[in-house]
């Protein structure tokens, strides 16, 4: 997953803003699909990205948005997830 390209600078500022909001929404949906381990690993990538002194402002912005969405997602996972418990009779094991 990568943050959508924001190089739509020729567009007018309003549609630029709309475009950005749309991108964030897409990003949020993508992040919702990640499990905890994937989210943490994405966060670590962002952490190493932002520690690069030569990072561009565009990049830091996308990393900032993505980082915040990931943090929120992780928090929600830790707070609200209910354990899923299935009992599987061994007779059905090879059918699955």
């Amino acid at each position: 997953m990568s943050f959508p390209d924001e190089s739509s600078k020729n567009l007018s500022s309003t549609s630029d803003k709309e475009n950005k909001n749309h991108n964030i929404e897409t990003l949020r949906k993508d992040i919702q699909k990640l499990n905890y381990e994937e989210s943490i690993s994405e966060l670590e990538t962002i952490l190493s990205n932002v520690q690069d002194e030569n990072i561009s402002l565009d990049k830091i912005q996308s990393n900032y948005i993505k980082g915040n969405l990931l943090l929120k997602h992780c928090e929600e996972l830790l707070e609200f997830v209910e354990q899923e418990i299935n009992e599987i009779n061994s007779e059905y094991l090879n059918i699955d």
């Binding site: 499990n35 830091i60 980082g67 996972l77 830790l78 354990q83 299935n86 009992e87 061994s90 094991l93």
Partner: protein
């Protein structure tokens, strides 16, 4: 004859049949209906579905039988030389006055269990299946795990309670197995099926609550140990009590002391993770703050630098310099002296006059005052000699 006659009244008299019946009655009344017998199997023979045993303890021996109807429910069938513990009752055949111990339940004696453990362990060690370097790392955040244990059981309840407290993000797949007695083949089949399933498990736990070491003999089984040793995903064992070690524990990827410990070892702790997560969050947010602060600072520095290069500044500095020079000039100008009442006297051409000797009578002089000048003619000169 005499003796026989005299004691005839006080001695009971039996027929063989009566004698045997009386003995049977006595045994029935006087002997415990059920008892536990410890011994070693010196002979074992399966005949017509019944298992005939000779039990001994080195000093004495007795015959025993497990009827075919009982054998079906037995979890353990002994071989020759196995030490056994038998729940038994006494059979007395009146027709022959024969005594036999009837097996109700039979278990291996601890010595037998430990002997088997040592034999299987030695075999697998030699094959290289028991080796710490074969133990795989457990997944850090397992998505989905399999729990192989008996259902329902306190071990399962402990596992589910612990999992809920510890890490509710992991999907728990409970696969019921029989953990009592000699169901090695059954467990082997389950493990074998699990190898090929599509449950996408990250690890499995094989758990069995406490009990005596003899009850854990299933997990000393060679076929189970081989399944575990070659299982495609990490296997955690939580079998029996703290001190119980089975062959399954030796070949697993991680041996936990109890079922609860197994799930503690496999699942991350939500409290620890929350702490770590908060730290990551703080670091990340701090970095963003730091970045923007840095950017702002660098922008400010550039602004200052840029401003210092502006032509206005240059002009101002020149202006200031000119002003200073002007002030300096002004301070030295004679105009100031004129204002204070001094006058500047020159000849008609405007040349300064430094001495009385420079002028003569009738010369025209120009006298400059602060607000204008006067033309004057010299009347006389007096030279002061100093």
């Amino acid at each position: 004859m005499n003796h026989l006659n005299s004691s005839k009244e006080s001695l009971p008299t039996y027929s063989v049949n009566e004698l045997n019946k009386s003995i049977g009655l006595l045994l029935k009344r006087g002997f415990a209906p059920k008892f536990i017998l410890n011994g070693t199997v010196s002979k074992s023979q399966l005949k017509k579905g019944h298992l005939w045993l000779t039990l001994t303890d080195g000093k004495a021996s007795v015959d025993a039988v497990a009827w075919s109807s009982t054998i079906k429910s037995l979890k353990f069938l002994p071989n020759q030389d196995d030490g056994v513990v038998i729940v038994a009752k006494l059979n007395f055949w009146e027709s022959q006055a024969r005594i036999s111990v009837q097996v109700i339940d039979i278990r291996p004696a601890i010595s037998t269990v430990l002997k088997k453990f040592e034999i299987v362990k030695a075999k697998l060690l030699e094959e290289g299946l028991i080796d710490d370097s074969l133990r795989r790392k457990l997944p850090k955040y397992p998505n989905s795990i399999g729990i192989l244990t008996s259902v329902p059981s306190s071990a399962l309840a402990d596992i589910l309670r612990t999992a809920k407290e510890r890490w509710p993000l992991t999907k728990m797949n409970i696969i019921p197995i029989s953990v009592q007695g000699n169901h090695a083949n059954e467990l082997k089949v389950v493990l074998h099926k699990l190898r090929k399933n599509k449950l996408q498990l990250n690890a499995i736990v094989i758990a069995r609550g406490g009990g005596s070491r003899e009850d854990l003999m299933l997990f000393d089984s060679e076929i189970i140990a081989r399944e575990i040793a070659t299982f495609p995903i990490p296997v955690v064992t939580g079998i029996g009590h703290e001190d119980d070690l089975t062959v399954s524990d030796l070949v697993s990827d991680h041996r936990a002391a109890t079922p609860t410990a197994a799930i503690v070892d496999l699942l991350p702790s939500i409290d620890l993770e929350k702490n770590n997560f908060l730290q990551t969050k703080k670091i990340l947010i701090d970095y963003f703050k730091f970045y923007f602060k840095n950017q702002k600072n660098s922008l400010y520095t550039k602004k200052v630098l840029f401003k210092s290069q502006s032509p206005q500044i240059l002009l101002n500095s020149k202006k200031t310099k000119i002003k200073y020079i002007y002030q300096l000039l002004n301070a030295l100008s004679p105009g100031k002296l004129l204002k204070r009442g001094f006058a500047l006297i020159t000849d008609e051409a405007g040349n300064s006059i430094y001495s009385v000797k420079d002028i003569k009578k009738k010369d025209n002089l120009l006298i400059q005052l602060s607000d204008g000048n006067i033309t004057a003619k010299v009347d006389s000169t007096n030279y002061d000699k100093i």
